[in-house]
């Protein structure tokens, strides 16, 4: 029964191989290969929700010597997000790439990306995390350069190099951890790690590496070009999932492994960077002239929010208050994941129909592509943090935590960020609603529009109304530092 945990990883991997072998059938294999892990993830989630965290000691070796896969609330939520988003994007991509030359490779890489994501979310071993991180980075890079344009290649290369730097930095942290504590198993580490130079240096190194990957403010510069120039389905998962993977790791490290090591000052530093990212990213998004670039900058800003949680979390003692904040953080990340992927998919539709994505020339879009415009609006709602989206709840709880911890400083940042987000989203909508010749004669609902709108609906409605599940799941932790 425990082998359940391997399926979210094994299934996409298997199907990836199949897709590699039968490129002609890759469309079908790709969609199926995305759907099957979704089922597995659902099963896992159900199990976790019903009976607590799951653990799979691979090869039957005790964790430590061997590698353990673990699923707890946090990873299940991440898995759910990734499985759902990839499912929707896969359906979309089966239309988007219907006639692309390299769709065979796309599907293989796509499935490998899913493998990497799921492996990362399930991994319970620090070094294995490094491997999954690398795998994720490489698949993402390759997918990002599928577009084939010069910009996309350049961006992908930069992404790759920085990703390598990031994972190396992570790896040296892992080395120090192994040096200090003699194990790589995260559960064991969660118990073992105590505050001290080893923990501090290792944590800062690992965090530094992950911050590059998650594009926190001064390290964000690779993100906008990479996300903006990739093909739409790829941009969607890059913005929605890939950066979140690094964030997920940071959360794991900070809150569960290095709980008690993290100092308030460090958290504040990260928070400040997050705050700058919020303001700067939103501002840049407001200035952006292209739709996808705007979305990419918006990702920078949204990630900033997530990092602003750090000082709050650090200031809270373990317990309900912290779980509340953590749940809010996760909810915000989830909402952003769904919303941003929907946004990118919609942008892709517009780009395919119009041949460009210059915001100023989008007049008439709302008329010719009503569903897509609707998707953008819904996703925008979630990005701004308006109800009934999940991000509204998350921001509410964030503010609440802010008041509880007395960290008023962040208040103006949230306010400014929200307003700026409103500004850029509605600037876009304003252009879309404006009269114009539109982007094409099509008035019908395309098959690729449905996944986009579904994603947006998940972000705005599902996560808004069933957000309590997040708070139910988050305290289920497989690691000592968690809600034990």
């Amino acid at each position: 029964m425990n082998n359940l945990l391997i399926w979210p990883v094994a299934l996409p991997l298997l199907t990836a191989l199949l897709a590699l072998l039968w490129p002609r059938r890759s469309n079908w294999i790709g969609v199926a290969g995305t759907g099957l892990p979704l089922l597995a993830v659902l099963l896992v989630s159900w199990q976790v929700a019903a009976s607590g965290p799951l653990e799979l000691a691979l090869g039957g070796w005790a964790p430590g010597l061997g590698i353990a896969l673990r699923a707890d609330g946090l990873s299940v939520l991440m898995l759910l997000m990734s499985a759902l988003v990839t499912m929707a994007v896969a359906v979309y991509a089966s239309v988007y790439f219907a006639h692309a030359e390299r769709r065979g490779e796309f599907w293989v890489l796509w499935l490998l990306l899913i493998t990497a994501l799921h492996a990362l979310f399930l991994s319970g071993d620090l070094f294995n995390l490094y491997v999954t991180l690398e795998l994720l980075g490489l698949t993402a890079v390759v997918l990002a350069c599928l577009g084939g344009s010069r910009e996309s290649l350049q961006a992908a290369l930069r992404y790759l190099v920085l990703g390598l730097l990031g994972s190396l930095t992570f790896l040296i942290g892992v080395a120090l951890i192994y040096a200090g504590y003699g194990t790589l198993d995260m559960a064991a580490l969660g118990d073992a790690i105590v505050a001290g130079p080893t923990a501090w240096v290792a944590l800062s190194l690992m965090t530094g590496g992950l911050l590059i990957k998650s594009a926190l403010f001064p390290l964000h510069f690779w993100l906008p070009p990479a996300h903006a120039n990739a093909p739409a389905p790829v941009s969607a998962v890059l913005s929605a999932l890939v950066v979140k993977a690094a964030l997920y790791l940071i959360l794991r490290l900070w809150l569960e492994l290095f709980d008690g090591v993290v100092t308030q000052a460090a958290a504040v530093i990260v928070g400040v960077l997050g705050a700058i990212a919020v303001v700067w990213g939103s501002w840049a998004a407001l200035q952006a002239e292209r739709l996808k670039l705007m979305a990419a900058y918006s990702t920078v800003a949204q990630l900033g929010y997530l990092f602003m949680f750090m000082p709050l979390l650090a200031a809270l003692p373990e317990g309900a208050g912290r779980e509340l904040a953590l749940g809010a953080l996760v909810l915000l990340a989830l909402t952003h994941g769904f919303a941003k992927s929907a946004f990118f998919l919609a942008a892709g539709i517009i780009m395919q129909r119009a041949g460009h994505d210059r915001i100023a020339e989008l007049g008439g879009t709302a008329r010719s592509l009503p569903v897509t415009a609707f998707t953008i609006a819904l996703a925008g709602v979630a990005l701004i943090g308006l109800p009934p989206s999940g991000s509204f709840l998350a921001k509410w709880q964030m503010l609440s935590t802010l008041f509880v911890t007395g960290q008023w400083v962040w208040l103006p940042v949230i306010a400014v960020g929200t307003l700026l987000a409103g500004a850029y989203i509605f600037r876009l909508l304003g252009h879309a609603f404006a009269p114009g010749e539109g982007v094409g004669p099509s008035l019908s609902v395309g098959r690729e529009e449905i996944p986009a709108v579904l994603l947006a609906l998940i972000a705005t409605l599902l996560l808004g109304f069933w957000a309590s599940a997040v708070w139910e799941l988050v305290p289920i932790s497989a690691y000592a530092g968690g809600g034990a």
Binding site: L386, Q397, G430, A434
Partner: protein, 501 residues
């Protein structure tokens, strides 16, 4: 019975939400189906609200709870105050829908329009039924979202500009409201709307803190209620189509702000506690300034809808003023004005829309002699205008009467009465010339765009009857103010419950 009490609030929400969503996906040509959906939704809602009124009157509890997040519950709860607002919006929604169907005939994007229209009403009803501050904030923001496309509906640069300004204000306001709400929420661990307020039970809370929160909440709500430094969006938003303006000014947006202020004062802070904090006098002063300022501004507007918009700025603050004066009578005045202003203002906007639609008249200076040409519309307009001035027996008089009584009772007559009187005079000063032009002047030149020439009647039915109906309503609820189930009686009921403690 138990289930009905849970499902009724949800049903009221859904009765406009579902048609709204369905309409979105209707092709533009399916005119009949859309109309059917619209009217069906409105009628079902009316029916449900009828049941609700009956139930609340007999002190039944209607409540729906949905757990959203730790400490956050989505609560729909019907108390007398909700019922007042719900019934207003439901009734006027029906009328406005009919009007909009007539008004938007042969224009593009009707599906989108009616979709958002229904969502707008859903949000408003949700606001009315919100059972705690959190739910209120949710619907408050939703309302912003649902109205934005309506204001921008025409897609012209002015419309987009108006919508942008609207958003700028309301998002900012929503944010402030949210910050205040979260703060309060954090301090008290959940703010349910309870008649008489909840905050006086938290004796240990810092008074200054509560004052700041009050300021935040009022700033947030004041944007929609168009209190004076925050009113800038309202005159800009008049570029929207007439049914939207009607909805905006009479039912949805502006009212949402005013309703929120009432909620905060009565059901969150508790009016006595708020008075103890000393925040009410400040609010009253702001309301007074707004009343005068709006009227003075309205004087100099030649654009009819702009004049009406400034008039709204002024009139809505009556509600705030009523809420800010301690005492049941002022409360009654403010609350009843919530309804009265809605009915009267919607009449005015319908009429303004009719003038623009039939004759292309947008300015006051073009209205010479229009009364003879469009007697029904003009009569409705006149009744609305007279009501705004406070001429008995139109509804506005009742509001002013109770406001004045409340002011005298609370010993605030020194500043409230001059404000009321000055405002009435100013109202007269900007409304009566319109009536004068309409009725007593003869048309000098041909009207800018005369579409009704050669028509058998002055206007098609869906355009003519809504203003006439609402005008009649304005007259009737004023004339039969003391009758059972009248808005006044509800307001008295509410005030009675608020001050029971």
């Amino acid at each position: 019975m138990m289930t009905m009490s849970v499902w009724l609030p949800v049903g009221i929400l859904l009765s406009s939400f579902i048609p709204g969503v369905l309409i979105f996906f209707q092709p533009e040509e399916r005119h009949r189906l859309r109309t059917l959906l619209n009217l069906l939704g409105a009628l079902v809602k009316l029916l449900l609200v009828g049941v609700l009124i009956w139930g609340v009157f007999h002190e039944q509890v209607f409540e729906t709870r949905w757990f959203l997040a730790p400490g956050l519950e989505f609560v729909l709860h019907a108390d007398a105050l909700s019922v007042l607002f719900v019934s207003l919006s439901t009734l006027l929604w029906l009328v406005t829908t009919i009007y909009a169907i007539g008004y938007l005939e042969q224009t593009p994007h009707r599906s989108r329009f009616f979709g958002f229209f229904s969502l707008c009403v859903t949000a408003t009803v949700g606001l009315a039924l919100a059972g705690n501050l959190f739910t209120f904030v949710v619907f408050y923001e939703l309302l912003t979202l649902a109205t934005y496309p309506l204001i921008a509906h025409k897609g012209s640069p002015e419309a987009l500009r108006g919508a942008r300004i609207y958003l700028r204000y309301t998002l900012f306001g929503g944010l402030l409201l949210m910050i205040g709400a979260v703060w309060l929420h954090t301090l008290t661990g959940g703010v349910e709307f309870v008649q008489g307020g909840v905050l006086d039970q938290f004796a240990e809370l810092d008074r200054d803190l509560l004052r700041w929160i009050f300021l935040l909440l009022i700033l947030g709500l004041g944007v929609k209620a168009a209190l004076v430094p925050l009113h800038g969006w309202l005159p800009q938003a008049m570029v929207a189509p007439a049914p939207v303006s009607a909805l905006l000014h009479a039912v949805a947006v502006v009212k949402a702000g005013a309703f929120g202020i009432v909620r905060v004062i009565y059901d969150v802070y508790g009016v006595e506690f708020a008075a103890e904090l000393g925040v009410l006098s400040l609010l009253g002063a702001v309301a007074a300034i707004t009343i005068i300022y709006g009227s003075v501004k309205a004087l100099s507007q030649d654009h009819l809808k702009k004049r009406l918009a400034y008039s709204t700025v002024s009139q809505v603050s009556y509600i705030v003023l009523g809420a800010a004066i301690l005492g049941p009578l002022a409360t009654i005045g403010g609350l009843v004005h919530l309804v009265h202003q809605g009915v009267m203002k919607i009449t005015l906007f319908f009429a303004a829309g009719n003038y623009a639609e039939a004759l292309g008249i947008h300015r006051v200076s073009e209205m010479d002699g229009v009364g003879r040409r469009m007697p029904g519309t003009s009569l409705a307009f006149s009744i609305g205008a007279l009501g705004m001035i406070g001429i008995p027996p139109v509804a506005g008089f009742i509001s002013k009467w109770y406001l004045g009584l409340g002011a005298v009772e609370a010993g605030a007559a020194v500043w409230v009465l001059p404000v009321l009187i000055a405002s009435s005079l100013l109202n007269a000063a900007y409304f009566l010339p319109i009536l004068y032009r309409a009725w007593f002047k003869s048309p000098a030149t041909p009207w800018p765009a005369d579409k009704t020439a050669g028509c058998a009647r002055e206007l098609p039915d869906p355009l003519l009857w809504p203003p006439v109906t609402t005008a009649a309503l304005a007259l009737l609820i004023g004339l039969f103010a003391a009758a059972p189930y009248s808005p006044l009686e509800w307001a008295e009921l509410i005030a009675g419950r608020e001050y029971r403690q």
